[in-house]
């Protein structure tokens, strides 16, 4: 457990405490403050993964979330997380990591034979190679490719962790905590503005911790620590660690993902794993910094090849030497610091290869480190396989030599992290001097500061940060005042990296996009084959399309394509980024909205009583409804439902109808308003009367139906179907506010305020009479069919009693305030006992409504008109109403349109099924002979056979005719007779009795 590459001192790690972790089952030790990558490097582990396509050995390239190589599986069991970046994963005691995409082991991967077939796996290989025979694709090619080329494995188990979402408002959001970000947060925070500072890393400071710089008389890391301490002392400043801002949205809305518990073995009690922040900020300062880009050369993916800035991060922040003998390959002066830091850490710098001509800064650094220096040279090839052993260097004059090394630090210039400026589709702008894309138009309210806008120097970044933070606070009405920007030590020189973009020597595979295994020759191939625009390049080679969003490869690929085709970079194209900036787990986007929290369950007032009765429930939309109430000895739902129907038709039953939508409508113009939304008239309805109403959409199609009762001169009470309650409410508000604002009418949804029970059956009046308080007459004369009145029940409970029937029997609906709902159902059952009452559920209700030919969901299916439903005569000719004009469309008046009729099987023992299509007897079933379809079927206890409702062309004219109900899906082919849709009591004598 020796950390052989750990330096003796330095770094932001807690050396006093040691924590254990495993990688591919082997135990290692690290320190708090390490990432998995830094701890592996400290232990001398360089090989951490295999590449996507060729299964080449890969190591650690970077020290941040741009990492394309070091992807691992973290944890095990249900918590296994694939494709985690070792450079981001914070080390904790007991961390388990496993390499991925290798078989049987990381060191010996049989799939690496893919490299031998690499001529086949070039850009666009899946378009070219697996074309035919077509049937081989699904059976052979796709499974084979999926097995061979891939990333980590999902756990296949339900995620045991929870996630949450939070919304926060602030004046200034600062994104990134490097020099510019800390300065911006300080300037804004000191003014008293509400500031949120979001940093993706667990340590604040960015490159202040990675570089050995001086700010005033302090080291840059010490200055960062002091700045953080000050920010945390300011009451209006919120510091979010481990929180990348992942998306920018309109009107100052930002998404950020806080990794609350990813640095622990498992989340603490009542803690989520991750928290998705929606931050609404008046202003923001993007201080996301810049990322170094590599220079491609043969074998540049060998473990041990690393970005020069990442080398400094491992040396200075983690106290780890990523190698003992280093070669530095650069096209700019930034690597001078890497040379100096390697030398200071006791590492040998054997050679410095400057791709440019004479450059004094690197010259001086190399001399100080006693390294041999090659101007105008290049690395021709790195070698070593699973671990770097050396490289071949060519000088500018055609000579070459080999050096042994275990680290190559590469510096190809910098790419400002401008992704968040492009999420709202603004295009970046190429800057020739900086050789970089800079932010174009900023999202409204966003300023960009520091390296993200090309101000690479430490002093410039600090000054820009203070300026941007102060400006943002002032834009929010705070007085920021003047700031003394602290002095900094000497800047490194020309760090812009204007090329060369690649090693001129072609030997072996030179990778541009490491994660998707795209090489320089793939880019050349794409150019040869005509895929020259950047959008084509991307899609043909998959360059930049991996989970790292091409952060180390996009600009490089573009520059290479420009060079190959002899065009400028802006001519070649620009790619904009889309959210998310770093991958976001679906669980975090869902937050708490999982399972029942996604779609809550609504319980009608009788629910707990129904549970006591042993009811079996069914979900109808969000509602949990009793489907049937089984009794001992009943073997299935059918037996129970048939018994419940028979009880209602011969004695009395009770049903909880509270799930119907209920809308209270009041105002002087309430009647006029209802006339305009229903096809039939309601202004003429007498007080104390209810009426069935049908609503159409403006296109003439039926929308909803229900009964509406006039409780007073200016007071109506509407019921809607259970499913459409919300939609009807919304429709009424639209009609009132937008179409007829001059009408005096108001609505209130009272669905949850009233418990409403249907009491149905020949003995129902006796039950109701036992419930209403003395003095209220419920006789047929006092409360006739479709009558309604307000009264009290059970000794003073306010109630509404409606003489309505869905079942077709003598029936009432009794509504009481919802808080009495549970007591009411118990009282109804008690009062009904002498009359043989039973509760009935949704199954019995469905049977009875089909027996009565009432349209419901299957008939009000969004395709049917009033005339189709047999209600054409209800359409008032005296008034305009929604849908009236469009009901007169030619196609709707076509007499061949299927309309509602009933069906019964010629062979009375046959079963009917909804979904069957009607075909004339003797005709072949075909679309041309299709005359309609069956919508609802049930076994009718009252008739003793199956019955059905459906739409049939010229249906009402064809009573007694026999047609085929043809159901190829379930193999049904039944002869049915066309009959009236009302199967029980067609004269309606029972309801009026």
């Amino acid at each position: 457990m020796s950390q052989s590459n750990r330096l003796a001192a330095g770094g932001l790690i807690d050396r006093a405490s040691s924590i254990g972790f495993t990688f591919d089952g082997r135990r290692y030790a690290g320190h708090p403050g390490d990432t998995l990558a830094s701890a592996l490097l400290a232990n001398g582990v360089k090989l951490v993964g295999r590449s996507f396509k060729y299964h080449r050995p890969r190591g650690v390239l970077t020290a941040g979330s741009e990492e394309p190589n070091a992807l691992v599986e973290l944890r095990s069991g249900a918590r296994r997380e694939p494709n985690a970046k070792a450079t981001v994963a914070e080390l904790y005691d007991g961390l388990e990591a496993t390499s991925q995409n290798r078989w049987p082991s990381l060191a010996f991967d049989l799939m690496a034979v893919n490299q031998l077939a690499s001529p086949v796996f070039v850009a666009g290989f899946y378009y070219k190679t697996f074309m035919w025979p077509a049937k081989f694709w699904e059976k052979l090619y796709e499974p084979m490719i999926r097995r061979a080329a891939g990333l980590g494995r999902l756990s296949g188990e339900a995620d045991p962790d929870s996630y949450e979402k939070i919304t926060a408002h602030c004046d200034v959001l600062v994104i990134g905590s490097g020099p510019a970000g800390l300065a911006a947060a300080l300037a804004a925070g000191r003014s008293g503005a509400r500031v949120i500072l979001a940093e993706e890393d667990f340590a604040l400071g960015g490159r202040l911790n990675s570089d050995r710089r001086l700010i005033g008389d302090k080291t840059s890391a010490a200055w960062a620590a002091e700045a953080v301490a000050e920010l945390e002392s300011l009451p209006e400043v919120t510091v979010l660690r481990r929180t990348p801002v992942v998306g920018v949205y309109d009107d100052g809305v930002y998404a950020a993902l806080e990794r609350v518990s990813d640095h622990m073995r498992e989340p603490g009690a009542h803690q989520p794993r991750q928290r998705l922040w929606r931050i609404v900020a008046k202003r923001s300062v993007l201080a996301a910094g810049a990322l170094e880009r590599p220079i491609p050369f043969g074998g540049n993916d060998t473990p041990g090849v690393m970005l020069a800035s990442a080398v400094r991060t491992y040396l200075n922040r983690f106290g780890v030497a990523p190698g003992k003998r280093a070669v530095v390959y650069a096209n700019n002066d930034d690597a001078a610091a890497t040379i100096a830091d390697l030398a200071a850490a006791g590492c040998e710098v054997v050679a410095v290869v400057d791709a440019r001509g004479d450059a004094p800064a690197l010259h001086a650094a190399a001399r100080a480190a006693r390294a041999s220096l090659v101007f105008g040279g290049a690395i021709a090839r790195a070698y070593g396989g699973r671990s770097l052993k050396g490289c071949e260097i060519v000088d500018g004059r055609g000579g070459g030599f080999k050096v042994a090394c275990d680290l190559i630090a590469v510096s190809g210039g910098w790419n400002p992290s401008i992704q968040l400026t492009t999420h709202l589709s603004a295009r970046p702008v190429w800057d020739d001097r900086l050789a970089a894309f800079l932010p174009g138009a900023r999202p409204v309210g966003m300023e960009v500061a520091g390296a993200a806008e090309g101000a690479y120097g430490l002093g410039d970044a600090l000054a820009a940060g203070f300026r941007a933070g102060a400006a943002a606070a002032e834009a929010c009405g705070f007085a920021a005042g003047a700031v003394d920007v602290p002095a900094t030590d000497q800047e490194p020189g020309d760090t812009h990296g204007r090329g060369p973009w690649r090693s001129p020597v072609k030997r072996g595979k030179a990778f541009v996009d490491f994660q998707n295994d795209v090489t320089v020759s793939d880019v050349e191939l794409a150019a040869r084959e005509g895929f020259k625009s950047v959008e084509h390049l991307k899609r043909y080679t998959t360059l930049g399309m991996a989970t790292d969003q091409g952060r180390t490869s996009n600009v490089l690929g573009l520059a290479l394509m420009a060079e190959i085709t002899g065009r400028s970079i802006p001519e070649t194209g620009i790619t904009a980024a889309r959210a998310p900036f770093t991958p976001v787990a679906i669980g975090a986007l869902a937050g708490a909205h999982r399972h029942k929290e996604f779609r809550p369950t609504r319980l009608p007032p009788s629910h707990f009583w129904a549970e006591e009765q042993g009811a079996v429930f069914t979900e109808t939309g969000q509602w949990m409804r009793a489907a049937y109430f089984p009794r001992p000895g009943e073997k299935d739902w059918f037996e129970s439902a048939v018994r419940e129907v028979t009880t209602v038709r011969t004695a009395v039953g009770v049903y909880d109808a509270s799930t119907l939508g209920k809308i209270d409508i009041q105002g002087a113009d309430a009647g006029v308003f209802l006339d305009r939304v229903y096809v039939n008239a309601f202004s003429s309805l007498a007080v104390g009367k209810a009426r069935y109403g049908l609503m159409l959409r403006e296109d003439g199609v039926a929308m909803d139906d229900g009964t509406t009762t006039r409780l007073g001169e200016t007071h109506y009470y509407m019921t809607t179907t259970t499913a459409n309650a919300g939609g009807v409410m919304r429709h009424l508000e639209l009609c009132k506010q937008w179409l007829w604002p001059e009408l005096d009418v108001h609505f209130s949804s009272v669905t949850d305020q009233w418990a409403q029970y249907a009491i149905a059956g020949p003995r129902s009046r006796e039950v109701v009479a036992a419930l209403v308080d003395e003095g209220f007459d419920v006789s047929n004369e006092a409360l006739p069919y479709m009558g309604a009145r307000e009264l009290t029940v059970c000794g003073g409970v306010k109630a509404r009693l409606f003489r309505l029937s869905f079942s077709g029997e003598l029936a009432y609906e009794l509504a009481v305030p919802a808080r009495y709902g549970d007591a009411m159902i118990r009282a109804i059952i008690k009062a009904g006992e002498p009359f043989g009452i039973c509760p009935y559920g949704a199954e019995a209700l469905a049977i009875m409504r089909i027996e009565k030919g009432h349209a419901a969901g299957p008939e009000l299916n969004g395709n049917t008109t009033a005339a189709d439903l047999g209600m054409g005569k209800m359409l008032s000719k005296k008034k305009d109403f929604i849908g009236r004009t469009m009901s007169g469309r030619e196609a709707f008046l076509d007499p061949e349109r299927p309309s509602l009729v009933g069906f019964r099987p010629v062979d009375r023992s046959a079963r009917l099924r909804s979904g069957a299509h009607f075909v004339p007897r003797g005709e072949t079933p075909s679309a041309a002979n299709d005359q309609g379809y069956m919508t609802s079927t049930a076994y009718s206890p009252s008739n003793g056979h199956w019955i059905g409702l459906g739409f049939l062309a010229r249906g009402p004219e064809r009573m007694g005719e026999i047609v085929r109900a043809y159901d190829p899906v379930r193999g049904g082919d039944v002869e049915v007779e066309v009959v009236s849709p009302v199967f029980v009591d067609p004269e309606g004598a029972r309801l009026r009795g």
């Binding site: 809305v253 403006e698 639209l734 937008w738 007169g888």
Partner: protein, 95 residues
């Protein structure tokens, strides 16, 4: 996106429900050419690239229907008005 409800103040777009074009006007059903006018009202929509007037409802808020003038290319919202005010102004203009 955020919409400034005239009654509740600026709120996240997820509190609002979108309906569609607010430039169409329900025709007079008693006019002789009512049917073609209704066909146009129900089905025909312009698809402007730029400013558009749309009906939204503050459905998870005050239930108000709103006319939102929005640039559909940039999502920049120029104006939010109560639908009933727009409707009232429109009918008084017509008179």
């Amino acid at each position: 996106m955020r919409i400034a409800c005239p009654f509740c103040g600026p709120r996240g777009v997820d509190e609002f429900a979108y309906l569609g074009d607010a430039t169409v006007k329900r025709p007079n059903a008693d006019a002789p050419d009512a049917l073609p006018a209704f066909v146009e009202y129900v089905y025909l929509r312009d698809n402007p690239a730029g400013l558009h007037r749309e009906l939204w409802q503050h459905a998870l808020g005050c239930q108000s229907w709103l006319v939102v003038t929005r640039n559909v290319r940039t999502h920049v919202i120029d104006q939010v008005e109560a639908a009933r005010d727009v409707a009232a102004a429109r009918s008084s203009e017509a008179e």
